[in-house]
Subunit: 738 residues, 2 copies
């Protein structure tokens, strides 16, 4: 296939971005790492985080190899499966690297940021922010270079379906992200909840007190959960949004005359987004203000505006490559859809912000509910959390409806319009990741300032940076959930196109009994299982009629899965936190001198509990996310599998937003009370607000954010194992109703 | 239409059932109502409950008249709309009567049951149970007589669509049930949470202590929420299951040769269920055992077995009325489906039982979680609640899959099979309602025994009756949610059939500009709105393709609605409970002698707060449940409306089961601790378990059970306003994507 040379732009953007990441990391590293105690604490955190990742990557290694072999045999056999497997491995490694790198910079930046806070607000901000940028820029660069290089090479050597190989890359990124996100989420909340329940509630120790044996584990948790987990997560959504658009364009052969241009258009739009993010970061660097909240949000808004302009430039660059009036219209339509997508993302972010900000009604109401006791503050957060689902749902509906409409009118394909909206929404992910990684760095900096005894003033500055991070995070979190949702919708549409073509082809091409790979012969698992060839019109048309019982069953299972998944993750946190609580109590009881500061607490024991527990607990939820879609497809058929994904996407959206916002609001209601309102710290009202916050912890940091990744992994699983599923289940499913 | 004379059976069953209800009420009334103080308390409760219902019925009066007028003008105009309106009024009045009557008997039985407990366990049990039976039998009798009489008359006088008139009856029952359920649920928890938060938590008063100003309101709440609300609720599900089956048979004209037989088959099967319930109640009456749990569950299992046998008898009775081999097979198939439905209901009930019983792992784990504080017990209940959704979801999937399969093979229509499964599941609703109404009577009896100072022994007996009621309730609650869910699925299928026929007809028949009703001419709202006549193949085939954006949007809105609805109800409870808390604190502060028992608390003030608050708060959630489906249908079209219902059914199921089970388990974990485990009453562990219970209160008694009714009302709204929706929105919807 003829690939336009414009694919050079993402490569250039990626290289610039990597260079900047390297530059920022140097910038951070040359700062003063603070006094000895601070370096010691930072060293503990770094060691704990590395231990965790080392053990996790060992487990992941086994998993990756196993899945790579499965891919080799279960997806469409031949050369193609080798390429896909290699792309999968690259994606996996890329995702692991994104997490590792972000974390390393994070643990280097935290102590420096703490020291920076003793100089000025802006200094502390800069170190935290540029620390975050290293990860933001590197993640996006790797994703963009990976996608465009793999596609370019595959297209150049003439692989039949180059985009499907890129799908392998995306699947690698997502499956690793799921492990990182679940494991990190369980780890961070095991430590946090454990530290809070005993240290804060029972022994009245302040946050991050070095006497608390779980304090280091808590800081490690911020890094492995919020930085490494989140980096992998956004890496995966970002790649998935691009791949969904590419898959759609590749399938819609009759819509575009210059198909190749529309396949790479998602990459070009994402390139515009990366440049926009870089400009946004540059403006933050030169902006002379001491208000960290203004800096973070200003950067996001600016990147949005710049993206809309730069995307237009890339549309103009792509224009000479299309030859028909229809295709020219389609380019304009794609630009509009991308802009709508990004703007909707911002609006969705605002609604999350409203529901979680301490100066707005919901959080205030929750704080006041604390006056009536623990139960009422829980109920208040629960109901506001559920209510907060409505505005972003409307946002997604409007974004989808509009982009589908524009897609239908201008592009000639509504679904491609939705795909472009998803690409637009995720285009400035560089900025989003930078803002997000900023948060845990400040959080750690605050802890290190406390442990390094830098004094109240410095801690207060670190606190103000942390609080700005929380506000920015509220916007980016809603944004990320919305973007992931639109992405999985686009994946769902591309799944249908894939399914239609697979089923049409399978009906014509007999499946061979043996597969030859590089001269070696293997029995073909498909032919052994004697696939049914009853391929009904229904499936061929790609219709998922909700009132076909198989489809209804698929949707039913799909709706239940996010609930099951959330339950498993929350239970994991609980089980682990209980072990942590026992350990902390044991330490305090066996050596009461820990509490007076005469004896150092045994941090390693707590780190060990968090590490081993989270790795053990992440296995079940991760495995089911891959096995359930395959099982649904085999048992109830392809249309049921589509409905399963739709059901999971819809209910997953409700659970993700509900949990993220309820958790965020409880946290901020507690902080507002801690700032001296309603009696402040130490009162019963404060205690009630801590209960709310503790309930919200696994909501907002474990279950809520993992649902996104769950949805992406399930969607990609359905697409990548499609041929296997059709071969075993016969398309209509072993138990399927025609 | 020729109606088989066998419709005489439901009439006879209804009359026998009413006679028995009258006999049981006499039996209860002739018992000793206890000492003066008990009668005084019972009088307060009766007065409070009557005040609430009086005010509520006034508001409902306005609502009913308004909706009746809307029906007259907005549904298919002509004679038909008059009949439907009258049926609607009868259904409304029937539902109100069911609630009122159950409550009256309840408030008479409670004091007598308390006195009965001072004689023997069995005496106390009998009075409570037969008090409950009065409502159980009366509700089913009215429903069965109503449905069969309306259908018989309509068919006899030759109305074109007699079943659609019966739909009016069902809509009346459901819309009232929604008000009763929401209002009662808010009332009962306003009082309960208020009484607990101040009385129990702050002032350490025992449950039902007469010094607590909210104690009477709490008892009133049990009656208006658990008896009146629940009676209306099951009345409505029961009627809806029968109507769904009738509508399906009426629409499936090409499936059955002897269509009329299959239209009345749901009524006949329900008649078998009523007889089975009566036999179950009779066995409980003569069974010589002192174990109340065994009696209640034994009655349910027995009724199940008897139903399966009696249904066979009715199939044999119906057999001479069918003339073809296909129709004979269809009768057998219907019997099988009904049996599968009922058995699945029992299995679903067991799973709810497992997740909420104090001697099973989930509740025990939750009790142990209380050792780690308030937040952990909340998290534990939350995650077990979510987990508990999985088994009943599988139950529904299996019931639906099997009955669809049997329906396809034996009946020639899978959807009719699902309809019969729903009818089977709800057939023994007489037993279910009796068991359910038993609970609040015991609960009240315990309160009256406490207030009437009957001594520890009597209170302990009343407690044991109450606890058996809770266990029975766990089974019946899961059962009721499952049954409602299968019913709304059947309604969804019948909605599709209706939509198909409406759209096919509208395409052919021009709509007149004026309507003549009894000689008076009215302008036709349909023709004014200039309906679009773009009726695409898609709609005509009744396909709801999940990947059509309108359908996806409909499903998305549907999935969000139960979350929104739950949030609104929980917020209502919270707002009201806060007022109640203020009032109780005010009373204690202004007259401290209330606490020493020297001055009587002002019960009326608390009753007033609960009454007025709950009525004000129920309006918004009730209205949206009628307006949203109409809006979705008009804006996005008929297929989107179907998907909206499907989305709401699926996510509603998740929320309903989650809330009911989490709430039940928290309650029982608390009770287990109160029975002396883990340190018993007064400890921090007990306090944490009270937090769990208080969070669970609005879950299990307000939001959870109201969702069922919400789903039924929305489904019926879609069917009954179908012609209006198509006329205004043109079938494809004003904003719909074709």
């Amino acid at each position: 296939m003829n690939v336009p040379w414009v694919l050079i732009f993402p490569e250039i953007a990626g290289v610039i971005s990597l260079a900047l990441a390297w530059y920022f990391s140097k910038l951070v590293m040359k700062e003063d790492p603070g006094n000895e105690r601070m370096q010691e604490v930072s060293g503990y955190i770094e060691k704990g985080a590395k231990t965790y990742l080392k053990v996790q990557y060992k487990i992941l290694g086994i998993f990756v190899v196993g899945l790579a072999i499965a891919l080799l045999f279960l997806i469409n056999p031949g050369e193609f499966s080798w390429f896909t497997m290699i792309a999968y491995l690259i994606g996996s490694v890329g995702s692991m690297w994104a997490g590792y790198m972000g974390m390393i910079v994070g643990v280097k930046a935290n102590t420096r940021a703490a020291q920076g806070c003793s100089i000025s607000v802006k200094k502390g901000f800069d170190i935290s922010f540029f620390g975050g940028c290293v990860m933001g820029l590197a993640v996006v660069a790797v994703a963009l270079i990976g996608v465009s290089t793999i596609y370019w090479i595959m297209a150049a050597i003439g692989v039949e379906k180059p985009v499907s190989v890129v799908l392998g890359f995306s699947f690698g990124a997502s499956s690793i992200a799921l492990f990182m996100k679940c494991g990190g989420g369980i780890y961070t909340k095991t430590a946090d909840v454990g530290a809070d329940l005993v240290g804060k509630a029972e022994y009245k120790l302040p946050e991050d007190d070095p006497r608390n044996p779980a304090s280091i584990a808590d800081n490690v948790g911020d890094n492995v959960g919020d930085i490494a987990g989140m980096g992998s997560d956004l890496f995966d959504s970002y790649v998935a949004s691009i791949v969904a658009g590419m898959l759609l364009a590749a399938a819609l052969t009759q819509v575009f005359t210059n198909n190749a241009v529309f396949i790479i258009l998602p990459i070009l739009l994402s390139t515009a987004g990366l440049f926009a993010s870089i400009i946004g970061i540059y403006i933050i660097k030169i902006w002379k203000t001491d208000d960290p909240g203004k800096l973070l949000n200003g950067g996001t808004y600016l990147a949005t505006l710049v993206f809309i302009g730069l995307a237009l430039v890339f549309i103009l660059i792509a224009r000479p490559f299309v030859s028909t009036a229809n295709d020219v219209n389609a380019l304009w339509g794609s630009w509009l859809c991308a802009a709508i997508g990004l703007l909707s993302g911002i609006v969705i972010g605002w609604t999350s912000d409203y529901f979680t900000r301490e100066d707005k009604k919901p959080t205030r109401d929750m704080a006041h509910a604390a006056q009536e006791g623990d139960a009422v503050v829980v109920l208040s957060g629960f109901s506001y959390g559920l209510l907060s689902v409505v505005p972003p749902a409307l946002g997604i509906i409007v974004a989808m409806g509009f982009s589908f409409f524009i897609g239908s009118v201008l592009i000639g394909s509504g679904v491609y319009g939705v795909g472009m909206a998803a690409v637009g929404m995720l285009s400035i992910v560089g900025t989003i990741v930078s803002n997000d990684a900023y948060g845990p760095i400040c959080d750690n900096a605050r802890g290190i300032a406390e442990q390094g005894e830098l004094g109240e003033d410095v801690i207060r500055i670190a606190d103000s940076l942390d609080s700005a991070g929380n506000t920015a995070k509220a916007i980016t979190k809603g944004f990320a959930i919305g973007a992931a949702n639109l992405t999985v919708l686009a994946l769902l549409f591309s799944f249908r196109e894939e399914a239609r073509s697979v089923i049409n082809n399978l009906g014509l091409i007999p499946i061979p009994a043996k597969i030859e790979i590089f001269g070696l012969e293997f029995p073909n698992i498909f032919s052994l299982l004697n696939p049914s060839t009853t391929l009904i019109e229904f499936i061929q048309k790609g219709i998922m009629d909700l009132l076909n019982p198989s489809v209804l069953i698929g949707a039913f299972i799909g709706v239940v899965v996010p609930a099951l998944f959330s339950a498993l993750l929350i239970m994991s946190v609980q089980r682990n936190a209980a072990k942590m609580v026992d350990e902390i109590r044991r330490q305090f009881e066996e050596s009461p001198k820990i509490l007076t500061g005469e004896v150092a607490a045994d941090f390693n024991k707590c780190i060990d509990i968090a590490t081993r527990g989270s790795l053990r607990e992440l296995i079940l939820p991760s495995i089911i996310s891959i096995l359930i879609p395959i099982a649904v497809g085999i048992l109830f058929g392809i249309t049921a599998l589509g409905a399963f994904l739709a059901g999971a996407i819809l209910s997953g959206f409700v659970f993700a937003i509900f949990m993220a916002n309820a958790g965020g609001a409880w946290d901020n209601a507690k902080k507002w009370i801690e700032n001296g309102n309603l009696g402040g710290k130490g009162t019963d009202i404060h205690k009630a607000s801590i209960t709310g916050d503790t309930v919200g912890d696994p909501f907002k940091d474990t279950a809520g954010p993992s649902i996104n990744t769950l949805l992406v992994v399930m969607s990609l699983t359905a697409s990548i194992f499609l041929i296997f599923i059709v071969a075993v289940g016969g398309g209509v499913g072993l138990l399927g109703f025609p």
